[in-house]
């Protein structure tokens, strides 16, 4: 998180020209000179939908003006990377930026998430040079007046003018001294927040206002029904927040988060539906299954496409170019599935589902029945027992279905842990989740490989019937299938160790601590 802004200041509007304020403050140590004519710029801040840059203490600003189109990435310590680039359209992945340090710094943080505009202002920027004894510029003081872009791009709310000190490369120590001088200047207040924070606050937005995590605060004594309604409402908010991004195909994570919200909702209804109003699980369970099902084909294609470059680069006998028809097939199939998904998300059935579900969850709940703590302990204990029982029964000869079933039971346990996280000791909860995650990763890899094995055969058959597919493409796909099969066998071999870790006395002790108080 960005916490302090040692080189940023807010300027009081006492009528004095900013250059006079700076000159009076820095004399006689430094002299100042105007740094050219003021420029009018449009400033846009970019971040991912889930605020990955903000969480990493980074801000990415795009400045556009006459003969200027520049991206500036600022870290919490004030370090900056700039890159000039024109004609980029957002939202887009950081990959669209020209190669260089900016892209290299952004890509590991943003990953598969697209950058999208989160705030826009129009700004007037005047620059003041700060000079040393050789009349050499050693720092720039920028005076920025901002006004929030109003409807239709017109200027709206004005924000207090800001001063910011930027060192010329190689003169950081002097710039730090200049900033220290300004800290005690009359009419200048050290900034408590970044320009982005000010702009977001003025626009009524909160950084980090989206997270796919179930960040509800439950209390042990609250009625179980109220607790579940709070959890399920939070999941519904997440689901709805991801619909526009899924329809517009901004990035693949919108659909992923939407699907996770649907799966968690289905598990919540299945595992804790008895505390919800009578009839609700039956009425809504099937509808959420439908919603989950319509999102599955496209997600499967996304999984292939997201790992495509890595898969193609790992080919030994075939060349990546020979796999191109497979990529084309995946991309075309995705377009078809996307159209079907958009139809479903715009359908009356979907709109009715979310509206009715919200109404159901918002209905006043009777304040009786078991408590949230009792529900959490009981359901986690049962789910844990189920995982232990089914996992213990798996031998090297067990069919794949048994591992698939165990994977689903593990997911249910994981979702229950997430629903009731706020009721648990964070240290024990965190370790219990890690215990489970080790097993889930192994089962997930095994299941993904199984699905991909099946699908690659299906894709090959489709490609042969739909078009004149070169033999080299099928051979390359065969090589991919071989690689997937090796991964699958490795995951199957690792299962026994992963399950043994999960079933260890220490792990069982942790789950006992989490479920203390539940009836045996």
């Amino acid at each position: 998180m960005v916490e302090s802004f040692p080189h940023d200041f807010v300027l009081a509007s006492d009528g004095r020209p900013p250059v006079d304020v700076v000159r009076a403050t820095l004399a006689p140590r430094f002299t100042v000179a105007p740094g050219g004519r003021p420029r009018t710029l449009r400033l846009t801040w970019l971040d991912t939908f889930d605020w990955r840059l903000y969480e990493a203490g980074l801000t990415l600003q795009h400045s556009v003006g006459p003969r200027v189109s520049e991206y500036t990435l600022t870290a919490s310590d004030g370090a900056q990377i700039t890159s000039a680039a024109k004609g980029l359209r957002w939202p887009a992945l950081a990959d669209v930026l020209p190669p260089g340090p900016l892209r290299a710094r952004l890509q590991p943080v943003t990953g598969v998430r697209a950058l999208l505009p989160i705030a826009r202002v129009s700004a007037t920027v005047s620059r003041i040079r700060v000079l040393n004894a050789d009349d050499k510029t050693i720092a720039w003081v920028a005076v920025t007046g901002m006004s929030l872009a109003g409807p239709g791009g017109k200027n709206g709310t004005g924000l207090p003018a800001r001063l910011s000190v930027t060192a010329v490369r190689g003169y950081q120590a002097q710039a730090d001294r200049i900033a220290r001088c300004l800290t005690v200047a009359a009419g200048v207040t050290p900034a408590a927040a970044s320009p982005l924070d000010d702009v977001l606050a003025a626009a009524g937005r909160h950084p980090g206002d989206y997270s796919s995590k179930i960040d509800v605060k439950l209390t042990p004594e609250m009625p179980a029904r109220c607790a579940m309604e709070e959890v399920l409402l939070r999941l519904l908010d997440t689901l709805e927040a991801n619909v526009p991004g899924t329809i517009k195909e901004i990035d693949t994570e919108f659909l992923h988060d939407l699907r996770v919200a649907v799966r968690r909702t289905r598990s919540g209804i299945k595992l804790c539906g008895d505390v919800l109003p009578a009839g609700a699980p039956e009425e809504f369970g099937g509808e959420f299954k439908w919603l989950g099902d319509v999102t599955t084909p496209i997600r499967d294609l996304d999984v292939y496409l997201l790992s495509y470059d890595q898969m193609a680069a790992g080919l030994q006998a075939a060349t990546p170019a020979e796999l191109d028809p497979f990529h084309d097939h995946l991309a075309q199939s995705r377009q078809v599935e996307q159209r079907a998904l958009v139809r479903a998300l715009r359908s009356h059935r979907f709109l009715r589902l979310v509206k009715a579900w919200r109404k159901e969850l918002a209905a006043p709940a009777p304040r009786r029945g078991i408590t949230a703590a009792a529900l959490a302990a009981d359901r986690i204990r049962r789910a844990h027992r189920k995982v232990m029982k089914r996992g213990s029964a798996i031998t090297p000869d067990s069919p794949p279905e048994s591992l698939h079933d165990l994977r689903k039971r593990c997911k249910e346990l994981r979702y229950l842990l997430e629903f009731f996280a706020s009721l648990h000791d964070p240290a024990i909860h965190g370790q219990a989740v890690r215990d489970l995650k080790g097993l889930q990763d192994c089962l997930g890899e095994y299941q993904d490989c199984q699905v991909q094995q099946h699908e690659i055969r299906m894709f090959a058959a489709q490609m042969m019937t739909e078009r004149d597919v070169p033999a080299t493409a099928l051979l390359a796909m065969g090589e991919l299938a071989g690689k997937i099969a090796r991964r699958e066998r490795r995951a199957r071999r690792e299962f026994a160790d992963r399950f043994a870790d999960f079933a260890s006395p220490a792990s069982r002790h942790r789950f006992r601590a989490l479920t203390a108080g539940a009836g045996r």
């Binding site: 190669p99 050789d134 009349d135 050499k136 510029t137 010329v168 490369r169 190689g170 003169y171």
Partner: protein, 247 residues
């Protein structure tokens, strides 16, 4: 990233003025430029108001990227940075000689800067030395100011022959007539005919103008303090010709 060097065996021919003005014009065009003042006299550093001092001297710089990064100074101009001169550069030959493959050392040192800069301008000291050989190997483009005399043309031939003997990478050579004194008939004749006779000589000439000499008083590129002057226009034409030729 491209590396451009201003080079001539002779001194006082306009190498530093060219390096500073070309660097400024490239930065003004949006390129991220680093100018390395390799001349221990530090004229380019003086013109850009940077003290000619590098911590650890030339020896530290030749060692690696970290030392190089720490020594770079921003100038008064956006996107134009300077690696200042240092008096120890007078020993750069000896320092290079103590490294493995000394003629490749400069190139290996500069190439990793590609993620930060689009253009590196090397302002070379007047000499034939291990340093200048290392510069010739690193450069993609060699800009050679020529005083229009018969002897200067002969020197250009020697330089071209020397580069032709390189294995692998060879810089593109572009000479131009510098410090032309219109009152001198020989200057006028050579400046007129040389570009017609030789493809490695630019059409643009840089006249001997008092405004260019004034750079040392203003301590700034003429393209910055007198951007509409004849001198600035000639440097702009030279920069345009350099880019036309594929820099």
């Amino acid at each position: 990233m491209k590396i451009l060097a201003t080079y001539n065996i002779k001194g006082g021919v306009g190498k530093t003025s060219t390096a500073v003005n070309i660097g400024h014009l490239a930065a003004r065009d949006g390129l991220r430029v680093l100018l390395w003042d390799l001349d221990p006299q530090g004229a380019a550093s003086f013109l850009l108001r940077v003290r000619p001092r590098v911590k650890g001297g030339g020896k530290a710089l030749i060692k690696g990227r970290r030392e190089l990064d720490a020594a770079i100074k921003g100038t008064d101009f956006d996107r134009l940075d300077l690696l200042p001169a240092d008096f120890t550069y007078r020993n750069l030959d000896l320092i290079l000689d103590s490294t493995k493959k000394p003629t490749e050392r400069l190139d290996r040192l500069l190439r990793p800067l590609a993620d930060e800069y689009d253009l590196i301008v090397l302002d070379c000291p007047p000499s034939i030395s291990l340093l200048s050989e290392s510069v010739l190997h690193a450069a993609d483009f060699l800009l050679v100011p020529l005083i229009p005399t018969t002897l200067s043309v002969r020197t250009l031939d020697q330089l071209s022959d020397f580069i032709a003997g390189f294995d692998g990478h060879k810089p593109q050579v572009l000479a131009f007539c510098s410090m032309i004194d219109r009152r001198k008939r020989l200057h006028r004749e050579i400046a007129e005919h040389l570009p017609e006779e030789r493809s490695d000589v630019a059409r643009t000439v840089i006249p001997a103008l008092s405004l260019i000499e004034r750079m040392s008083v203003e301590r700034a590129p003429v393209t910055a303090f007198a951007p509409r002057s004849a001198a600035a226009r000639q440097y702009a034409a030279l920069w345009a010709e350099v880019t036309e030729r594929g820099l």
